[in-house]
Each structure stands twice: as structure tokens, then as C-alpha cells.
Amino acid sequence: MIEGAIWRRWAFFYVPLTSFIVLLLFPFYWMVITTVRPDGELYRPWNSVNYNPFWTWHPTLDHIRDLLTQTLFTTWMLNTMIIALSATVISLFCGLLAGYALSRLKFPFAGSLGTVIFITYLVPQTLLFIPLADIIRNFRLGDSPWALILTYPTFLIPFCTWLMMGYFKSIPKELEECARIDGATRWKAMLFIIFPIAVPGILSAGIFAFTLSWNEFLYALVFLSSPEQKTVPVGVTSELIRGDVFYWGQLMAGALLGSIPVAFVYSFFVEHYVASVTGSVKG
């Protein structure tokens, strides 16, 4: 705690921290309040009198009902779920094996291969999306979930590998050596001794990979075109705006419901998540 007078504690701690929290969370509050606010209250100019924007006395579920019944929102949710889960499973599988090989086994070019995977970790989607769109078209994967299931691992695998390498390094080598002395093959020692211990690391990587693929936008925007194939981020931003008209109640309802799976996963595994965020930049 800060030493000294109470006013110092307020000036240097409570006030700044509270301001940070309010500013960081306000857009989410605004999302929620817009979702439950009737249209009549929503579209009142900001300088009209007797207008309290932060509260409503007439909450309504109309926007959510319209979103679920009159749009393809539920289809997008399902698409995103399938794509995010598949991409996560593929990436975890690859990242787990690669992470083990790179941190535990000695083979030629191990160091340089690790470096290459680290570099791919830094490659932004922006650099690749145009040629990749062409490749997806040539492979005839365009407008299908496979386009995303196969390309999302490109930014998830390097991350998973990186995280798992760090985790494997923290598991003592002796454990594996003991198993080997007891007659286990390398393969079995890896599968039955090391991987079970690495479960918390796998969980962290998996949660992070899931949220990353749920949030991905550019590839989904470019590779998918028909409305019923889209993911939540793309569907909400492109299909809920008709012509030039923004139906803000419905848009915010979509943004809110579309964030729930991620927020749900996050709320259950906060510690794992924080571990993976901080682990993602540790060398």
C-alpha cells in the first residue's frame, strides 16, 4: 500500500485505478444497455432534454428476439463454434507434438527450426491474406468452413508450440529418464508420463487458441462469402447492417451474445488464460 496520508492514497491509487476500470469497461456496459433499450429511447439526439443515456426504465428483449428469429445469428454461432473447436484441436495436436520435439529431443537443425516457428508466430495475417485467398480458391475451399479450419492453425500452432515448449522445459527430465529405465519406450514415456503432467499447459494453450479463433476476422471476411457460412464477427458486421442503416439495438445484441462463449470460457479459466497471455511473450 502507498505510505503517507490518505489523500495520497486516493490521488495515486484509488482515483487512477477506478478511472482505468470505468474507461475499460464502459463500452461493454454500453453494449448491454443498448441491447435492452427500446428503439424509441435509442434514437434520441444526444443534446435532447430530460434524456438519461445510462439507464432505461423500459427494458425490452425485442432486439435479442429479433436477432435470434429474423437473422442467421444462430447459424453463425454454430459455424464459429465448429470452426473454433476444430482449429483448436488441430493446433493443440500439432503444437503439443512439435513443442515436445523442440524442447526435449536432440536432432539436427532443432535450433533453427525453433527459430523458424517463432518467426511464423510473428507473421501477421495482413501479410498473407491476398495470396492465401487465391490459394484457397485454387484448392476449391472457398466459402466452406474448411478454409478457416485449415488456415487458423497457422497463427495458432506457433503460439501453442511456443507455450508448450516453455511448459515442457519446466518438467524435470529425470521423470522421463525414470520411465525409460523402467523399460518404457520413448514414445510411451512421452505419451503416458509427460503429456499427462502437461495438461494445465495444454488447457491454457487450448483456451487461448479457442478465443483467438473465435475472434479472428480478416480470414473469415475474405474466405467466406455466403451469409449462411459466415462466422459471428463477420456476420454481425456485414449482415446486420441493411443498406446503410444501422439497427443499433440488434447490432449490440449480436455483439453481446457473440461475445458470451468467449467470456464464458474466460470466466472459468481466468488463471490459465492469464498464464497463457503472459507466457505468449516470454522467451
Binding site: 500500500m1 491509487f13 474507461l23 475499460l24 469497461l25 463500452p27 461493454f28 454500453w30 453494449m31 435509442l42 443515456p53 500439432c94 507434438l97 512439435a98 520435439a101 523442440l102 529431443l105 536432432f107 517463432f118 510473428l122 501477421p124 495482413t126 501479410l127 498473407l128 491474406f129 491476398i130 495470396p131 492465401l132 485467398a133 490459394i135 480458391r137 485449415l150 492453425p153 497457422t154 500452432i157 519406450t185 520413448r186 514414445w187 473465435w214 475472434n215 476476422f217 475474405v222 463477420v234 454481425v236 444501422f246 443499433w248 447490432l251 449490440m252 455483439a255 457473440g258 461475445s259 468467449v262 474466460y266 470466466s267 481466468v270 488464460y273 497471455v277 503472459t278 511473450v281 522467451g283
Partner: protein
């Protein structure tokens, strides 16, 4: 009689139960190759191949569905002489620089605040990370609504506080649009800095601070001479990481302004999208998106140099 269950020692090598595959996998090199195969295949197919393809596209005049011919460096010349591209270069650099400086400064401040002991610390930390984990486009939509020219809640607040008298057109005014977009970027990136720097702060032993305090160092001096040097490695890695992401940012600007008004917020990514996907000029778009590459290269070289140096120490 408990000893009878212990199995007799078996010879390790050449045990009859081991097939040729098992023996092959006992060799570290073969096992490593097998384990790395899926990763190398996927990354090769969807990162290395597109990159090579992108470079090849940039020296042709390909469009969607038209393979195109070799045109040398014509695309690069065109892009260089393109007024909008120059605007995008300037915008992207300003966007990256300003946003990074603010994210770093505010993130560090927030991390220092969170590093204290107070009630509700865990839940505060959990909530603070929300802007980072909620899908960016969806939270950006909320910002777009908050920036709405007619119904802006920000304008309402500033008006009530007496700061402004007329309305502010946050996203429609060419002079303000880039600032508005930068504000949203800072809002989204700040938690990442705060949480990773907090993790860095927590590795610094409190005894160092106590020792400095006993020697008479004030709070600012302790931060300047104890915390900051120890935090520098984490700070560098986080910053470099975020610089690439910010430099290549797409979704935020795409949702808020689409690069407008009058290209005032046009970034490399949005411009490459507009040309390469919007108008179907694949080669030109690929050339523009390659503009991200030099920055990526610089950061990678710096990282490798830095990591190698750290390993030597």
C-alpha cells in the same frame, strides 16, 4: 511373500516385443521428424507457400481468375507513385507510433497500480483483460455506436460537463478520424500491456525495493532505478510484439471507418484489402500488403539478436 510380484529384470535392448516401428521411434531424430511433420506441413502449406505466392503475385499483373504475366517491378513503381498509398504509409506509421506510446505508458501505469495489494485484486485483473479477450470487431462496433454522429454518448457526456458546445463528428471529420481510431486501439491493447507487464513486475523481488527504500530512495527513484531496468526485457518483447500487430491492424479500422473519410484512416491492411479483394487487383493488393514485410523483418532481426544476447548472459 510380497516380493514375488516384482518382475524379473528384462534386457532393455533387443526385447522381442519391440517392432521395427518402435525401434525406429527410439531414435530421437526419427521421433522428432514424425512429431514435427504435421506442424511443418501446415505451416509450409499456409504460411511459406502463400508468402512465396505473394512475392510472385507482386511481379505479375494477375487479377482474380486471370493468371497474369511477368511485369517486373512495375507494381512497386505504381504503388510508390500512388498518392493514397503514401497517405496509408503516413497513417500507418502515425497510428502505430502514437498508439504504442500510449499503450506502453498507460499499460505500465496500470500494471504498477495492479501490483499493489488491495481487496478484489483478482477480480479487477480479470475484468481489466476483457477488452483484450472480447472479439475485437464486436467491441469496436460498440465504439462505433458510441462515436455515432447523432446519438453519441461521448458527446452527451462532454456536453453535460460543459467541455463542448456543438457536436463532435468523431469518425466523419477527417482531422479527428485517425485520433478516434487510435483511441479505440489504445483501449483494446492497453490490457495486454498491463497484464504482461504486471507478470514482469511480479518477478521482481520486493527485497530489492526494501533495500532501496532503506537506502533512502523515493518512490519515483525506486521505480526509475530498480523496477524499470529489471522490467525492460519484458517491456521490449511486449512492445515489439504489439508493434507488429498494430502496424498490420485491419479489423478495427475496417469496422469504424473502412479507411475513410477520404482515406484519412487508410492503413496498409485496409488499402490492400480494398485493392486486392475489393477491386480484384490481386497483384497490386499483394504488393501493398508486402509493405508490412520490412517492419516484420526489422522486428524479427531485433528479436533474434535480442534473444541471442539474452541467452549469452
Amino acid at each position: 511373500m510380497t516380493f514375488t510380484t516384482v518382475a524379473a529384470p528384462r534386457a532393455y535392448v533387443g526385447s522381442p516385443r519391440r517392432g521395427p516401428l518402435t525401434r525406429l521411434l527410439e531414435d530421437e531424430r526419427w521421433l522428432a521428424m514424425l512429431l514435427l511433420l504435421p506442424t511443418v506441413a501446415l505451416l509450409g502449406l499456409f504460411i511459406a507457400y502463400p508468402f512465396v505466392k505473394g512475392v510472385m503475385l507482386s511481379v505479375t499483373d494477375a487479377r482474380v481468375g486471370v493468371p497474369g504475366h511477368f511485369v517486373g517491378l512495375q507494381n512497386f513503381v505504381n504503388v510508390w507513385n500512388d498518392g493514397i498509398f503514401r497517405v496509408a504509409v503516413w497513417n500507418t506509421c502515425a497510428y502505430t507510433f502514437v498508439a504504442t506510446v500510449f499503450k506502453l505508458a498507460l499499460g505500465l501505469w496500470l500494471a504498477v497500480l495492479l501490483n499493489r495489494h488491495f481487496r478484489g485484486k483478482a477480480i479487477t485483473r480479470a475484468f481489466i483483460l476483457l477488452p483484450f479477450i472480447i472479439p475485437t470487431v464486436l467491441s469496436t462496433l460498440a465504439w462505433k455506436w458510441m462515436f455515432d454522429p447523432t446519438f453519441s454518448v461521448i458527446n452527451w457526456g462532454l456536453f453535460r460537463l460543459g467541455v463542448i458546445h456543438g457536436r463532435i463528428n468523431w469518425l466523419g471529420d477527417p482531422n479527428l478520424a485517425l485520433i478516434s481510431v487510435i483511441i479505440v486501439n489504445i483501449w483494446r491493447g492497453l490490457p495486454f500491456y498491463a497484464i504482461t507487464l504486471l507478470a514482469g513486475l511480479q518477478t521482481i523481488s520486493p527485497e530489492l525495493h526494501e533495500a532501496a527504500a532503506i537506502d533512502g530512495a523515493r518512490a519515483w527513484q525506486r521505480f526509475r532505478h530498480v523496477t524499470w531496468p529489471l522490467l525492460l526485457p519484458v517491456t521490449l518483447v511486449v512492445t515489439l510484439f504489439s508493434v507488429i500487430q498494430t502496424f498490420a491492424d485491419f479489423q478495427l479500422v475496417y469496422v469504424l471507418t473502412g479507411g475513410g473519410p477520404a482515406n484519412a484512416t487508410q492503413l496498409f491492411a485496409t488499402y490492400a484489402y480494398q485493392i486486392g479483394i475489393g477491386t480484384g487487383l490481386l497483384s497490386q493488393g499483394a504488393t501493398i500488403s508486402l509493405a508490412v514485410f520490412p517492419v516484420l523483418l526489422l522486428v524479427v532481426i531485433f528479436q533474434l539478436f535480442y534473444i541471442r544476447k539474452a541467452e549469452v548472459h
